[in-house]
Symmetry: C2
């Protein structure tokens, strides 16, 4: 019996949504990480790209705040994306402390690939659920996420 077995977990872990959430969340992260590895990207790079694709140019502090990552961490992520010409930092004439970060054309193309991979990974993750359950599950997750935001 070498394969990890959820049935072997005590009820104190497997019966609680908290533990399962952490465990399944890490699994989702790992699957997505594996999927975008072929693009030479990590999940946090992808989050930035997807955000910029829909919201246009943003200051770094806004990217960090929306994605719940540290300002300090974002710097290196943007350095890497900029080195591959996927994003560019431009001066913001209205506030010279801020950088307007936006996708390049190459960045927009890669982001489309990322979005397709995200859909594919979600399909694998929710493979066991029928369409009604998927919708319900997404809705509940969204409510918990919103509640978590307010608690901060």
């Amino acid at each position: 019996m070498s394969s990890p077995n959820l049935e072997a977990l005590p009820q104190a872990l497997a019966g609680h949504a908290g533990y399962l959430l952490v465990r399944v969340g890490k699994h989702a992260q790992r699957m997505f990480s594996l999927a975008v590895d072929r693009l030479g990207l990590r999940p946090s790079h992808c989050d930035v790209l997807l955000l910029l694709a829909e919201r246009g140019a943003l200051a770094q502090v806004d990217i960090a705040g929306t994605l719940l990552i540290e300002r300090a961490h974002l710097v290196a992520l943007l350095d890497q994306l900029e080195a591959r010409d996927l994003v560019k930092r431009e001066a913001d004439p209205r506030d010279r402390r801020r950088h307007a970060v936006r996708l390049t054309e190459a960045g927009a193309a890669v982001t489309a690939e990322v979005a397709a991979l995200a859909v594919q990974v979600e399909g694998e993750l929710l493979g066991e659920l029928d369409p009604a359950e998927r919708t319900l599950f997404r809705e509940i997750l969204g409510r918990i996420a919103r509640d978590a935001d307010e608690g901060d």
Copy 2:
């Protein structure tokens, strides 16, 4: 607008269960981590304690396999728990390569506190859901977790 705002996320992130799972999973981990910090424990310590509380003595390779952590990582966790006299490693007479790891009395007492905190944290996490939704949510999470196990 300084607070992180889920509404500001693009549909490509907020509309997908994968991203929400990762985000909510990290939130759950952080909440539990904060809760057990007063006991001087981290979540991975607690997972080991809760497992031993229900399953009795286990070999290290079985603990690691069940909790999906690395054998190599578990060594340091057990060193720390043993230094606080919460668990003990005993010789297994039937296979002298193995250690039988079990809770001490002090460990059992601390584990009871951990279990109570876990219940409390889950209550905060699922505060927005009515009882029927909680049950359904747990059930769906369990199915995804089981599916993830089989995929490995």
